[in-house]
């Protein structure tokens, strides 16, 4: 079975400071990893994904994520957070061994203070 862990329920950061949202995963075989963001009363919006190749992937709204195979991690980062980045962030994994189902982590609430 595959699983995703987001160890922090909430991350607080001051505007302009770097933002990191942590994600670790457990799968059999090669993982396909995704980050999504959810604003209040909305569905999830895709931010970025890692499939293969360069371990550092860049996505929407200035976000990037680094795939680390040895640590089975895929942390989301933004060099300078904005108040408008306050939202829920979900990490997800998909793997062939799990029937290609998309499994989500528990989510992390990000609060960026002015």
């Amino acid at each position: 079975a595959q699983s995703v862990a987001q160890p922090e329920d909430q991350v607080n950061v001051a505007e302009g400071n770097p933002l990191t949202v942590k994600c670790t995963y457990s799968v059999s075989g090669n993982p396909y990893l995704f980050w999504y963001v959810q604003y209040p009363n909305r569905g999830l919006q895709f931010l970025l994904k890692y499939i293969t190749g360069d371990n550092l992937v860049k996505g929407s709204y200035g976000f990037e994520a680094e795939f680390n195979k040895s640590q089975t991690s895929f942390h989301l980062k933004k060099p300078s957070a904005l108040v408008s980045d306050s939202a829920l962030y979900f990490c997800a994994v998909r793997a062939k061994a799990a029937g290609n189902k998309l499994t989500f982590g528990g989510g992390t609430r990000v609060l960026v203070k002015p």
């Binding site: 396909y32 995704f34 999504y36 959810q38 009363n41 909305r42 569905g43 999830l44 919006q45 895709f46 994904k49 499939i51 829920l88 979900f90 998909r94 793997a95 062939k96 290609n100 189902k101 998309l102 499994t103 989500f104 528990g106 989510g107 609430r109």
Partner: protein, 113 residues
């Protein structure tokens, strides 16, 4: 914006009523999913489909049922709603390739009173 639509956005209904949550996508995606989202935000897969006439139970047991008669349509039905069904329901779709991202609808917030 993704071309996947859920209706209604909000629904308040009495116990024992039958309800159907609609989900449609215009992207021609074979895969479709229903997730239930806790008030505490965690997402649970309750149903998925890999194409017409294909439906599977997800990771979280649900009393709801789904059908997939047309590629673009994946409705979810509760035969007899209960307060424990109160939740946010999110529909998603993706292409068959496992390296493609899923697209989500806006969600339906269901309240059973």
């Amino acid at each position: 914006e993704a071309d996947i639509y859920q209706t209604p956005r909000y629904l308040v209904i009495g116990t024992g009523k039958k309800i159907t949550l609609e989900c449609s996508q215009t992207m021609g995606h074979d895969k479709m999913y229903w997730y239930q989202q806790d008030p505490g935000m965690e997402l649970h897969l309750i149903h998925y489909s890999y194409g017409v006439n294909s439906t599977e139970k997800g990771d979280l047991s649900s009393e709801s049922t789904v059908s997939r008669i047309r590629t673009e349509h994946f409705p979810l039905t509760l035969e007899s709603a209960r307060p424990s069904h109160t939740s946010q329901y999110l529909c998603a779709s993706s292409a068959m390739d496992r390296n493609t991202e899923a697209f989500f609808g806006q969600g339906t917030r269901l309240t059973v009173v």
